[in-house]
């Protein structure tokens, strides 16, 4: 892998359409050359706008965009060296597959021989050789997506931007398409920025993932850290499926108490100096970290099984706890039925606590961890 990617830097960058509210709010972001960075967030969070600003399709209203260290506002599209794949693929309907790939090269007067050579190998690598004379309307979704990738590759750019490139193809084909994009990155070493709202896709692809909400980066880190050490409640809830269980608790006398007064978890064995007595917190526990047993010994609280869904590889249970709340649990095998009472234990290692107001995660500091196994 030759590393040819350009670095990208967003410096205090803002974007507003109506001069009142910022769609992107003073964003700082630094993308390492050759990195595969995923921008992940719900629709309308500003992730696509960020990508469009980097591509030069929109101008930031504040701050700076630096590409390869240079202020991007003054750069032509050739200096930026950006290729981009759009969500709808943006294939020219009046040109064949080959002409689509060739068009920009022809306009920029790349000699015919070089064009042919380059495109032949790209078409072959994407299994499109047999389709090169077809028009986009004659292609399936997956084929269109590969043509869009190919058109981006034809440019040999230093930066590759992808805007939800897999959202318009069948679920069954996505896994394969992901592998293709990954391989493309390994071979060409471009800097890739990839926008998606699908957290599974983000986890599968990104070296790092920037989780964006309300025009702000909530957290930027590796997939593993995002899942296990989320910076705040939004990240914890956005990443992982089924969603993390969250409920309000009060910390009192080394215990986390439910609103009804029932004990959710006894933290007595652990140092808990980070938590304030008699204060509200939000506790988060992922469904796979709720272990269930028919034996009350050592369990945290009883739970009634409301429903069991069999997804084949795992089973997902909906449990009623404290006569009020519903929580989800994921288990690989489950033989008991519905309506039964079982006993739940929350894995202390994976228990997450959040400030009830700011929703920021309360991280265990080195001296006083609330969990220590």
């Amino acid at each position: 892998m030759e590393n040819t990617g350009f670095p990208i830097e967003l410096d205090d960058m803002s974007k507003s359409y109506n001069k009142k509210t910022n769609v992107i709010d003073k964003m700082d972001l630094s993308v390492v050359p050759g990195e595969f960075l995923v921008l992940l967030g719900p629709s309308g969070c500003g992730k696509s706008t960020t990508l469009r600003i980097i591509a030069g399709l929109e101008a930031p209203t504040g701050g700076k965009v630096l590409i390869a260290g240079q202020d991007a506002t003054q750069m032509t599209s050739i200096q930026r060296s950006i290729a981009m794949v759009f969500q709808d693929y943006a294939l020219y309907p009046n040109m064949t597959v080959y002409q689509n790939l060739e068009y920009a090269l022809r306009v920029h007067k790349v000699p015919k021989q070089i064009r042919e050579q380059r495109l032949t190998s790209i078409l072959a690598s994407l299994n499109l050789t047999n389709y090169k004379d077809r028009y986009p309307s004659q292609l399936s979704g997956g084929q269109k997506q590969r043509v869009a990738l190919g058109r981006g590759m034809a440019k040999k750019s230093r930066i590759f931007l992808l805007d939800e490139p897999l959202s318009n193809i069948d679920v069954q084909l996505r896994e394969k398409a992901r592998d293709e994009i990954q391989k493309l990155h390994e071979q060409n070493g471009q800097t890739i920025i990839y926008v998606t709202h699908d957290q599974q896709e983000a986890m599968a692809l990104g070296d790092r993932i920037a989780v964006i909400n309300d025009g702000k980066i909530q957290m930027i880190d590796t997939p593993e850290n995002l899942y296990h050490n989320p910076a705040n409640l939004f990240v914890a809830q956005f990443v992982g499926t089924p969603q993390i269980n969250v409920f309000k608790v009060t910390y009192f006398n080394h215990q986390l108490l439910d609103e009804s007064g029932a004990v959710v978890a006894n933290l007595a064995p652990y140092q808990t100096t980070d938590l304030q007595e008699d204060t509200d917190y939000l506790v988060g526990i992922r469904p796979e970290n709720v272990s269930l047993s028919e034996d009350p010994t050592g369990a945290d609280f009883p739970a009634e099984v409301e429903s069991v869904v069999d997804y084949g590889r795992y089973k997902q249970l909906t449990l009623k706890v404290f006569d009020r709340l519903e929580i989800k649990a994921v288990v690989t095998s489950w033989d008991s039925g519905v309506g039964q009472t079982v006993y739940a234990k929350l894995s202390r290692k994976e228990l997450l606590l959040f400030d009830a107001q700011s929703h920021e995660r309360i991280e265990a500091n080195q001296n006083s961890q609330y969990e220590l196994e």
Binding site: G56, I78, M84, A90, Y92, A104, V107
Partner: protein, 273 residues
């Protein structure tokens, strides 16, 4: 299927509307084959009792039909090409460039659609006279060449082209001139043809303005000749006028038949089943 009741009311209504729209055309064709006498007696009778080509032959003797058709065609073509060309260019400029006061200019543009052409005829006449283009088909065509309607229709058509197409080209450094020629124009083909056809027929049909500019019989267009037959002194010869009318509707209908695929598609994208 959920056919709760037969919708008789709707069907009857549709049939009435169809009759109202089509009957005049049928009468026109029918009377063009009647003798002057028959048309006086039974002008509303559908089938001529003694069909005759006489009117067409008389017409051919009285006026230079070929010259008149080519005059009209030339004028309509110039107007159509001019309107389509300026319309496309202006629509692309409106869609893709941002400048101060764009919204105001757009507002005024649309306002000009609401200015009756009759009212601006005189200023136009003066300009044409100063340019020495009276009695000239070009003089008829020129003031009709810029028209806000064309711009609006093409803006509407361009809005249906996904913006990602032009954006993708811009990221790849394709200049606007190339985007316009290589992507926008080919994709707008159906709109260009159907809007062009409408412009052509409007111009073909134009009567009032040519009356002002064209005084010499040799530069007459078809609608002028028709008007002359209708209002000729010594009473109107209806069957003769109808024969000229039939000749006048043939070219527009031919255009419609040739381009029907595009014209019907641009009206109803899904097609009516």
């Amino acid at each position: 299927m959920l056919t709760e009741k037969r919708n008789w009311g709707w069907h009857i209504l549709l049939i009435l509307i169809i009759l109202a729209i089509m009957l005049p055309v049928v009468f026109m064709i029918s009377n063009s084959f009647k003798t002057l006498q028959e048309s006086y007696h039974s002008i509303l009778q559908l089938i001529p009792s003694n069909p005759t080509l006489g009117n067409y032959l008389t017409l051919n003797k009285q006026i230079n039909l070929l010259r008149m058709v080519s005059n009209t065609f030339l004028m309509a073509m110039i107007v159509t090409l001019g309107k389509v060309g300026t319309g496309l260019l202006a629509a692309y400029a409106f869609q893709n460039f941002h400048f101060k006061g764009k919204q105001l200019i757009y507002f005024i543009f649309v306002a000009t659609i609401f200015v009756p052409f009759t009212t601006v005829m005189i200023p136009n006449y003066l300009v044409i006279a100063k340019m020495n283009l009276l009695n000239n088909v070009i003089g008829v065509a020129l003031p009709q060449m810029c028209d806000a309607t064309g711009i609006m229709l093409f803006i509407k058509a361009m809005e249906k082209i996904p913006s990602s197409l032009t954006e993708s080209a811009k990221v790849d450094g394709i200049p606007n001139r190339r985007i316009f020629m290589n992507i926008i124009i080919p994709l707008l083909k159906p709109s260009i043809i159907s809007v062009g056809a409408i412009f052509f027929i409007n111009s073909w049909n134009e009567y009032v303005w040519p009356t002002l500019v064209l005084k010499d019989k040799s530069s007459f267009t078809l609608p002028l000749a028709l008007q002359n037959y209708i209002s000729s002194e010594g009473g109107t010869n209806f069957p003769l006028a109808m024969a000229l009318a039939v000749i006048m509707i043939v070219p527009p209908l031919l255009i419609y038949m040739v381009f029907q695929k595009y014209i019907l598609n641009s009206i109803s994208s899904s097609g009516l089943k």
